[in-house]
């Protein structure tokens, strides 16, 4: 990796090569940055200049082109100008035409000229393409060319494209004078092409013209123009059309995409007069040619600069490197420890200064080395001292941590170390206890003296160092015990060979708990450090003492806790047993007794239950056998108050008998006590009641065979056990109760569910056989039996017959089905008694044929449930079983309920069957009726038409003249025949309606015409009765859409009825519009209709009363049919009437019926 520096003889270490590279690179870098910047500036300005120049040139070209086009247009205007003076229009036609022809000659761009007079009429048209026209008078008065020109004097039309291809423009110029008119010139703009192609700009520059809408008018490529190219999307065109004022020349030439997608410089000039725009564009590539040259030049310059810089850099770097290397070598020698080395440099610059600096530094270093060595020695000493102390301290701490339970080793260690570190002869620790200091640890002192001191504690009021420390609570130093006036124990000091001594207090919080003293047989001083050391030893001693005290306390607490834990465990064991065995008491009692005797250190115990006025021993533990037997055979009555047990029963509080032999009960020879003492060797015992809400339910007794009382804690514990036992007893009772209730409930729910399912199944069908089958199947299922059957009772024959069977097998079913069972059977008996009847063992009744069959099929028992309806016996439900015996009461109840439900289901099914049958019959009848009516009407109509036809012919005299009488008869035949025909037609309509074959044909109609035709048809009838028929049709009724023929039929029917039932007065037929509905109202002055009849009249075959029907005739079907027709139109028919005054029938139908409807 070592770079080769030119022709370097030896490879240099890497960092040195880097410097060389750095120099060269920075040199090259600076030069190239400068060159690059200058190139960029040059390029930028050159670009700006090029753009500005280009913009100016292009813009001026564009302006020039715009001017030329303007000139082109104004030349045309000027030429036309001579045909616009005032007298011209009044000149001779030949003259005018001549002038126009001359214009065409002079201006090749004009294709057509038109002279229009002041009124906008064409006077003359001269064209290159079409025939000239004189005074055609064509109307231009509404033509924009005329109108605009009249307003503006001169008007340029928007550019248009002839045959969608050639760009044209109309110039319209008003002629001078009054009523002068306009001259129109159609100008072919293709001729501008010359102007546009005339503009050349470099190699690829070109110009084109667009109109105000952005369509291309002129372009060197004429085909673009002919193609009617839309330029409005080009940005330059958009900009020209929107920006009215262009500020600087540079902005006038923008870089935009051209029509063919290339980038171009585009300049624009507007032709204000025409709102056209001339664009001059040069391809960007071409326009920026000079700029590219500049860039190339800059690139070359940059390359050259780099070369020069690299060369210069190499030379410079080599020159710089020589002194630097000398410096580096010097530094290396200094670094290697040769401080005497001196660097020789004579360059006379900063490098030489640097070399001198190195030399000075070498001198200084030599000097400072000697100082440093001394200082190091001092520090080493200090450090070793500190280390010694530290070690001592940690030694003490080690001892402390090793002996947590004892103080002595700690104190021994402390005195030993204190002696050593203070360079003293001996050291002692005295602990303060009972008002004096007792020697606890000593080191270095003579055994005699130590022994003496151990025997003689130092009181706090003596003139001793210890007392002094005790009072002053701080370290005390006695320089010479023998020479100190305040020191009282001089004798002792002498005996102990003590002159100087130093003591520090052992402080626990603010109390002095002891002293640590070091002693020396010479008179000497102790350093502050030694005092500090002693103080820290004193602190450590206190810590050790405290530790031991705390340790002892913890030990004590732990013992207590263990005891409490044991009791707690016992309690929880008992609770565990209670929860584990919720239904059983024995394990609970055993557990309680076991725990109680164990904890209370009693050899045995008994648990009594209070029952039937006495206490019974229910559980025992370790009771001596003879006493146990006694207790079991002798329940204890409550009356005895002398024994402990008796007292508990009386007071319901725990009783402790300390000595069974000592109290009255034993003295009086109460049997229980005697038994206890003599059979159980009982001396001390504790009896605790078990209470449930203050009622005694039992008792708990534990016994000791020695006189030793129970502690309150033990009593408390046994009381707790007793209450747990009570809880357990109560729990068991409640649990049993709950279980019993749950079992009952579950059973009921099961039954209800079964019943629910059954009734759902039974009621899910109305088919009678299915119902019966379901009932019997479900009955067998819910009763848990094997087979069953349903017998239905026939009232008529007075016998039961099997109708449904389940589980019996086909063979038996077949046999049973044929059995007719009379009322003297068990079935009959059950029906009579209306209660279930059981046969517990069929073999006892086997003499009856039916039962014999069953016995042979293997059945042993059955139950009959009579099915009884509200008024009669329906039958019976029988279930059978293969086992003999009575059916459980629960099954009987359940089946009874079920039988009652089944009765309802059977009846429902029967009723439904009947209804269905009836409906079927009715439907058939109705069908027959409609069919019959339709057929009959048809069959009747044909002969009747013949009858009427012949009658007509006869009346017309086709068969010869008839006599007056015959004429009269014939008239009657015709009247009655026509009535009959009407009747038949109505019936036919009605039957069609009922058969759903009646349709309406929707088409437009006029209400007025409809009313008119009805009036025309009924007028003669009305006039023969002397009635006035008044149509009242509102004017301007719109035409409606609907079935005109049918609606006419409706109106005819209503009007006909009105005439028929009205004897005098008038009938008004009104028609008006109400919103989107027509309302037709027929008002008569007839007898009116009673309110109770008003609804009926629209029913089939209904007339108001029979007498009038007879009088008036009619089928009674007309209004029914009318109602149907109106309803099929989505309308309604109604009647308002006051009896005796007349009626109004109102028909409302929508004006437009949208769809064809079929009668329902």
């Amino acid at each position: 990796m070592t770079p080769r520096v030119d022709d370097a003889e030896a490879p240099l270490p890497a960092p040195r090569g880097r410097l060389f590279r750095k120099y060269v690179l920075s040199f090259v870098g600076v030069v190239s940055v400068v060159l690059l910047l200058s190139g960029l500036f040059d390029g930028w300005f050159s670009y700006r200049e090029t753009r500005t120049t280009l913009a100016l040139v292009q813009h001026s070209k564009a302006e020039g082109a715009a001017q030329r086009i303007e000139q082109f247009i104004s030349e045309i205007e000027r030429q036309i100008g001579w045909t616009t003076h005032a007298q011209w229009a009044s000149g001779h036609i030949d003259q005018r035409r001549f002038d126009y022809v001359r214009l065409l000659r002079q201006v090749p761009a004009i294709t057509e000229l038109v002279q229009i007079d002041g009124q906008g009429r064409e006077q003359l048209k001269v064209s290159r393409l079409a025939m000239d026209v004189v005074a055609s008078g064509a109307d231009y008065s509404a033509d924009p060319r005329f109108i605009e020109a009249m307003q503006k004097r001169i008007w340029y039309s928007p550019v248009y494209f002839r045959k969608e291809s050639e760009p044209y423009m109309t110039i319209a110029i008003v002629r001078a004078g009054r009523q002068a008119g306009v001259t129109l010139a159609e100008v072919n703009l293709k001729l501008i092409w010359d102007v546009v192609t005339g503009i050349r700009l470099g190699q690829g520059g070109y110009a084109y013209v667009a109109d105000g809408q952005g369509r291309l008018i002129a372009h060197p490529d004429i085909s673009l123009v002919l193609r009617n190219t839309d330029l409005s999307k080009l940005p330059q065109v958009l900009a020209a059309r929107t920006a009215s004022d262009l500020r600087t020349p540079e902005e006038r030439a923008t870089i935009v995409p051209a029509l063919d997608g290339r980038s171009v410089f585009s300049a624009v000039a507007a032709i204000q007069q025409l709102s056209w725009y001339v664009f001059v564009e040069t391809p960007v590539n071409e326009a920026l040619e000079p700029l590219y040259d500049t860039m190339k030049r800059t690139g070359l310059l940059l390359l050259l600069g780099l070369l020069v810089a690299a060369l210069g850099g190499v030379l410079f770097a080599r020159r710089m490197l020589i002194p630097v290397r000398a410096l580096a070598a010097g530094a290396e020698r200094f670094g290697a420890g040769d401080l005497a080395h001196r660097i020789e440099l004579h360059t006379g610059d900063e490098l030489q200064a640097l070399g001198d600096e190195f030399n000075r530094m070498g001198e200084r270093l030599t000097e400072s080395y000697s100082n440093l060595e001394r200082k190091v020695e001092d520090r080493t000493r200090e450090v070793s001292e500190a280390l010694e102390r530290q070690t001592a301290s940690s030694e003490v701490l080690n001892v402390i941590s090793r002996s947590t339970a004892q103080v002595q080793p700690v104190l021994d260690a402390i005195v030993e170390i204190a002696t050593r570190l203070c360079h003293a002869s001996s050291a002692v620790v005295l602990l303060f206890r009972d008002g004096a200091f007792h020697l606890t640890a000593a080191h270095g002192a003579s055994p005699d003296w130590v022994e003496w001191l151990r025997q003689n504690p130092i009181p706090t009021d003596s003139e001793t160092l210890s007392a002094r420390i005790f009072n002053e609570r701080r370290p005390v130093y006695i320089r010479d015990a023998l020479d100190d006036p305040d020191y009282g124990w001089k004798e002792n000091a002498r005996r102990g060979n003590i002159r100087s001594n130093l003591g520090v207090p052992l402080m626990r919080q603010d109390d002095v708990v002891g002293v640590l003293i070091v002693m020396d047989p010479t008179v000497r001083a102790f350093t502050d450090k030694q005092v500090d050391l002693l103080e820290s030893f004193a602190d450590q001693a206190v810590i050790a003492i405290e530790n031991v005290r705390l340790f002892d306390e913890v030990q004590a607490r732990t013992g207590e806790l263990q005891e409490a834990l044991e009791q707690q465990t016992a309690t929880s064991e008992v609770l565990n047993v209670i929860t584990r065995s919720p239904g059983e008491l024995a394990p609970v009692f055993d557990s309680i007794l076991e725990n109680a005797t164990r904890i209370c250190e009693a050899p045995f115990g008994v648990l009594f239950r209070y029952r039937d006025g006495a206490l019974h021993a229910e559980a025992m533990r370790n009771v001596p056998p003879s006493y146990a037997e006694y207790l079991q055979t002798h329940p204890q009555p409550t009356a005895e108050h002398r024994t402990g047990v008796g007292r508990v029963m009386a007071t319901k509080a725990p009783v402790l008998v300390e000595d069974a032999v000592a109290d009255e009960a034993y003295a009086s020879r109460v049997p229980l006590r005697v038994a206890a003492v003599e059979l159980g060797s009982v001396r001390t015992f504790l009896a605790v009641p078990m209470l449930k809400e203050d009622a005694l339910i039992g008792m708990f007794v534990i016994y000791r065979q020695e006189v030793r009382t129970f502690t309150p804690k033990q009593i408390e514990l046994v009381v707790g056990f007793a209450s747990q036992a009570a809880v357990a007893i109560e729990n068991v009772r409640l649990l049993n109760e709950v279980q019993a209730r749950t079992r009952e409930l579950a059973h009921s729910v099961e039954e209800l569910r079964a019943l629910g399912e059954v009734s759902q199944a039974v009621n899910s069908t109305l088919d009678a056989p299915t119902v019966l089958q379901t009932i019997v199947a479900k009955a067998v299922e819910i009763s848990g039996t094997t087979a069953g059957a349903i017998y239905v009772f026939s009232n008529r024959r007075q016998v039961f017959r099997m109708r449904a069977s389940f589980g019996a097998g086909d063979e038996l079913d077949e046999a049973m089905r044929n059995q007719k069972i009379g009322l003297d059977s068990p079935l009959g008996e059950a029906a009579r008694r209306r209660t279930p009847l059981q046969i517990a063992d069929l073999r006892d009744e086997a003499q009856a044929a039916t039962i014999d069959l069953l016995v042979r099929a293997g059945f042993r028992a059955l139950m009959i449930l009579p099915l009884i309806g509200p008024d009669r016996v329906i039958g019976a439900l029988v279930i059978r079983r293969r086992e003999a015996g009575v059916f459980p009461e629960r099954t009987v109840d359940l089946l009874q309920t079920f039988a009652a439900q089944s009765v309802v289901a059977i009846q429902n099914a029967r009723l439904f069957g009947e209804i269905e049958e009836k409906s079927r019959q009715l439907e058939l009848v109705s069908q027959h009726k409609s069919q019959f009516l339709a057929n009959m009407s048809h069959e009747l109509r044909t002969p009747l038409n013949a009858v009427l036809g012949y009658a007509e012919l006869m009346a017309d005299g086709v068969y010869g003249e008839l006599g007056g009488k015959a004429q009269g008869v014939l008239g009657r035949i015709q009247v009655n025949g026509k009535h009959l025909l009407g009747l038949i037609n109505d019936v036919l309509d009605l039957s069609k309606i009922e058969a759903g074959q009646f349709t309406i044909a929707v088409e437009p109609y006029s209400v007025g015409a409809m009313v008119q035709s009805v009036v025309a048809a009924t007028e003669s009838l009305a006039s023969t009765k002397g009635l006035k028929l008044v149509p009242e049709v509102a004017p301007d009724l719109p035409s409606g859409s609907g079935d005109e023929r049918r609606l006419t039929q409706v109106l005819l029917n209503i009007v006909g009825n009105a005439i028929k039932f009205t004897d005098k007065g008038e009938i008004v037929i009104g028609a008006r519009r109400d919103g989107e509905m027509f309302e037709l109202a027929v008002r008569d002055t007839g007898p009116g209709i009673a309110p109770e009849n008003q609804a009926k009249i629209f029913g089939e075959f209904q007339q108001v009363d029979d007498s009038s029907t007879r009088k008036k005739g009619g089928t009674g079907l007309g209004l029914t049919i009318s109602k149907k027709i109106v309803e099929m139109h989505g309308g309604a028919i109604s009647v308002e009437s006051e009896f005796g005054k007349g009626s109004t029938f109102r028909v409302r139908i929508p004006m437009r019926v949208a769809i064809k409807e079929t009668a329902q």
Binding site: V101, L129, M131, S165
Partner: protein, 323 residues
């Protein structure tokens, strides 16, 4: 030393450039030319001049295979097939007979027409601005200016009442015939149609025209008549009746008047279509051009011979007066 080394490089570059030139020379575009009349050197000269202006020089990079029907339009299909067999890059045709024959012979070949009266009505193009198919070119708007022609004749000689109309039956003619009959009716002229299909029909037709003795003779655009213009003008002048023709070439040949497109301009413009299609443009994208200028030519000598004094308006209107 450097100079010496560079020299062969320069020479090589020259050689390369020369080689490229020779390659370009070898690449010759072949185009077809199908015309119904006999060969017309002046029209051909206009076309080749137009092509040369655009860099297509016959004999260097362009070959024109030309077929002429000698006035008989029935020969066109065969000639068209001949051209198609040579598979040119495109075919330049004149009027409807050539256009129709060519498009049938080579339905996909680009066709540039020059003398079609109404390309849209003929079904050659969807519209003038966007022809859409494989045919484009120039229209002589013959249909549109038919009425104008009659009215100019009438203006020059207002006494005319009955006219003979000379027609060559061919594709496109039905439209023209309808147009001229309508225009004649509009101007109150009685028109009789005379048809000639081949050069051999010319004399008999003129015999019949002579027999009918019309006030004037109107010749409709047709390849036959254009080719036989000398004979037609001679026969018409022999009848001493004023005439009007569709092209100034008739007037040059001694005919009375003409009104129509300038063939020189027309054929030169056709060259621009050739250029663009050779450079890859699709014929369907090139709009059909209408003539910018219509030439009204009058032969004053003939007028004098016919004893007609030209009204000032006619003289004013005339673009050229030939003597």
């Amino acid at each position: 030393m450097v100079k010496l080394r560079r020299r062969p490089l320069v020479l090589a570059a020259f050689a390369l450039a020369a080689g490229r030139e020779s390659v370009a020379q070898e690449r010759v575009a072949r185009i077809g030319l199908l015309r119904a009349p006999p060969q017309q050197p002046r029209d051909l000269a206009s076309l080749t001049a137009g092509l040369a202006e655009l860099g297509h020089i016959v004999g260097r990079n362009l070959e024109i295979v030309a077929r002429y029907g000698d006035g008989d339009v029935r020969r066109m299909p065969a000639l068209a097939r001949e051209i198609a067999a040579l598979s040119p890059a495109l075919v330049v045709v004149d009027g409807e007979p050539s256009a129709l024959a060519m498009s049938e012979a080579a339905p996909k070949l680009p066709i540039i027409f020059t003398l079609v009266g109404d390309p849209v009505a003929q079904g050659y193009a969807k519209s003038l601005s966007h022809p859409g198919g494989n045919m484009t070119g120039l229209t002589n708007i013959a249909l549109e200016i038919t009425g104008k022609r009659l009215s100019l004749l009438l203006e020059a000689v207002p006494t005319i009442r009955r006219i003979a109309i000379l027609i060559q039956p061919r594709p496109g003619v039905p439209l023209l015939r309808d147009e001229i009959i309508a225009a004649a009716a509009q101007l109150g002229l009685a028109a009789t149609i005379f048809e000639a299909s081949a050069p051999s029909d010319i004399d008999p037709v003129f015999d019949r025209i002579a027999a009918a003795a019309p006030d004037a003779i109107v010749t409709i655009n047709a390849p036959l008549f254009y080719g036989e213009r000398q004979r037609i003008v001679a026969r018409a002048n022999a009848l001493a009746r004023p005439q009007i023709y569709p092209e100034r070439e008739f007037v040059e040949a001694g005919g009375f008047m003409s009104y129509g497109v300038d063939f020189d301009v027309l054929w030169r413009r056709a060259a621009s279509y050739v250029d663009r299609i050779l450079k890859g443009a699709k014929p369907g994208d090139l709009p059909i051009e209408q003539p910018v200028k219509l030439l009204f030519s009058v032969n004053s000598t003939t007028a004098h011979k016919l004893g007609i004094e030209l009204p000032p308006a006619i003289l004013l209107r005339a673009d050229e007066i030939i003597e």
